[in-house]
């Protein structure tokens, strides 16, 4: 049987390494996400619209999800000949994380794909005030570990994707109410 190969890190590393107070990763820019979800599109025309109070209520009723922001970031994807669908940009806030994601809807309003654009985990004050962390201020021996790693390296990062699922449900209702 083959073994995994690994190294336990030395205890000496721990003070230098302690905690990542926050981290972020950008998977795709808006333009890259548009190309990934609609590779055949020739144009993305932005449609900025502000939902009316009535539309917000209708969306909330259909999706059973609160509409926090009345502004909608949407693009109409098209080739020279025909409309392909909608590219919708949105954000959800979980317990610790802020996720920017895009949903592509085809011309019938069905989900064609979902891509994560940005993932940010920020605990801010909680970590800054930690006494445990305070002990090590000024004690960071050696090269401090960079914080530019992405979520791949945070074991046990199982985060609830419930907010994402709710976000998609809200956007589908938004399509029905405001874009269709």
């Amino acid at each position: 049987m083959r073994h995994p190969e690994y190294t336990w890190l030395l205890p000496a590393l721990i003070p230098a390494a302690v905690i990542a107070p926050a981290y972020a990763v950008q998977y795709l820019t808006v333009e890259q996400a548009q190309r990934a979800l609609f590779p055949e599109a020739e144009a993305f025309s932005p449609v900025r619209l502000t939902l009316t109070a009535e539309q917000r209520r209708a969306i909330e009723q259909r999706s059973r999800v609160r509409v926090r922001h009345p502004e909608l970031a949407a693009w109409r994807a098209a080739t020279a000949e025909r409309a392909l669908g909608w590219f919708l940009l949105d954000e959800v806030l979980g317990k610790h994380e802020l996720i920017t994601y895009a949903v592509a809807l085809d011309h019938t309003g069905a989900v064609r794909g979902i891509e994560i654009l940005d993932y940010r985990e920020t605990h801010g004050a909680e970590v800054r005030n930690s006494r445990w962390r305070a002990q090590f201020v000024g004690k960071r021996a050696g090269a401090p570990l960079s914080l530019d790693e992405d979520i791949a390296n945070i074991a046990g990062a199982t985060l609830s994707c419930q907010h994402l699922a709710e976000g998609v449900r809200r956007l589908l209702a938004t399509y029905e109410v405001a874009l269709r």
């Binding site: 995994p4 690994y6 302690v18 891509e115 046990g156």
Partner: protein
């Protein structure tokens, strides 16, 4: 520090994508000239596992087994078969410390949905009553209900790696919310969350080949009728375990690592022998009196856990 300061420009030929799947965020990274198309194939492999083995989805093969398995034999795909077979081997080797039939307990605790059309679980029976018959057919010898959530996430990672191990891909990695596997020269620093304070991330392991899976209760625990419950169940008592403990298992395959984290949670004292029989290594963080103890297990270095460090004590001193 602003998030922008931490962004790292992607390496040349590197494709990094994340999508919500398997109830978590699945991140896939590949390096190579055709990385984007290979990453797309890897996501499709994960989606397939999700579709076949979701307990939530009434159309999945797992749901079909739960609806009909006690009445007749149910034919399943090679993927579901491989997962059930691996689950059975781990259940056998651990004498039931890993058991796919804890589903009714998870549903009662609110971690799985209730399906009105599943047969009522009798409350009798365990993994031994999930019979794997020739021709990839499954029969439930008693009215048990199965959930492969404790192993399928790892299997999905393995499937994605199978797709990524393609010509032209120099290195790759897949992370499904803490179930991680690497391919090629792609060493990964694993940061493990402290159970009592999950915003503290400790870089404890550098993984160069194989897989690692971590499970802990810090993001899943909830209150039910005044009790703290978690989705990590001791199959012998059918009661939540894992309080204040985080377990990481290192293995060649992620499915094995994923399932064995549950074995360690259910019985940390018996776990080393079982881990050794699968050539697995492990790391366990345990909160005790405000401190966090780090136990490691390496089968080449003896039979039991070694308390490698007591960082809290050592550093306070």
């Amino acid at each position: 520090m602003t998030p922008a300061a931490m962004r790292r420009p992607p390496a040349e030929n590197e494709c990094v994508r994340a999508r919500p799947l398997l109830g978590t965020l699945v991140e896939i990274v590949a390096c190579g000239p055709n990385a984007a198309s290979v990453v797309e194939r890897a996501f499709r492999a994960v989606e397939e596992v999700h579709r076949l083995m979701s307990y939530h989805d009434p159309a999945s093969e797992v749901s079909r087994i739960n609806r009909e398995g006690a009445l007749r034999e149910v034919a399943v795909s090679p993927h579901t078969w491989r997962v059930l077979d691996a689950a059975r081997r781990i259940a056998q080797a651990s004498d039931g410390l890993f058991d796919v039939t804890v589903a009714p307990t998870l549903a009662a605790l609110g971690f799985l949905p209730r399906h009105a059309d599943f047969l009522r679980a009798s409350g009798q029976g365990d993994w031994r009553h999930v019979e794997l018959l020739p021709g990839r057919r499954v029969r439930l010898a008693r009215r048990v209900r199965i959930d492969v959530g404790g192993i399928a996430k790892g299997y999905a990672v393995d499937r994605a790696i199978e797709e990524l191990a393609a010509p032209g891909v120099s290195s790759a990695r897949v992370n499904a919310g803490g179930d991680l596997r690497v391919y090629g020269a792609c060493p990964q620093l694993l940061r493990v969350r402290r159970p009592a304070s999950p915003t503290e991330l400790w870089p404890l392991v550098e993984l160069r080949s194989g897989a690692a899976a971590t499970s802990a209760d810090y993001f899943h625990a909830r209150r039910l009728r005044g009790r703290r419950v978690t989705p990590l169940i001791d199959p012998r008592t059918r009661v939540s375990c894992a309080h204040g403990r985080s377990v990481t298992v290192l293995a060649q395959e992620c499915a094995t690592a994923d399932a064995l984290t549950k074995v360690v949670h259910a019985d940390p004292r018996r776990a080393p022998g079982i881990l050794a029989s699968f050539s697995c290594h492990a790391l366990m963080l345990e909160e005790a009196g405000g401190l966090c103890r780090v136990h490691t297990f390496d089968p080449s270095q003896g039979e039991g856990w070694r308390v490698q460090w007591l960082p809290g004590e050592a550093l306070l001193g």
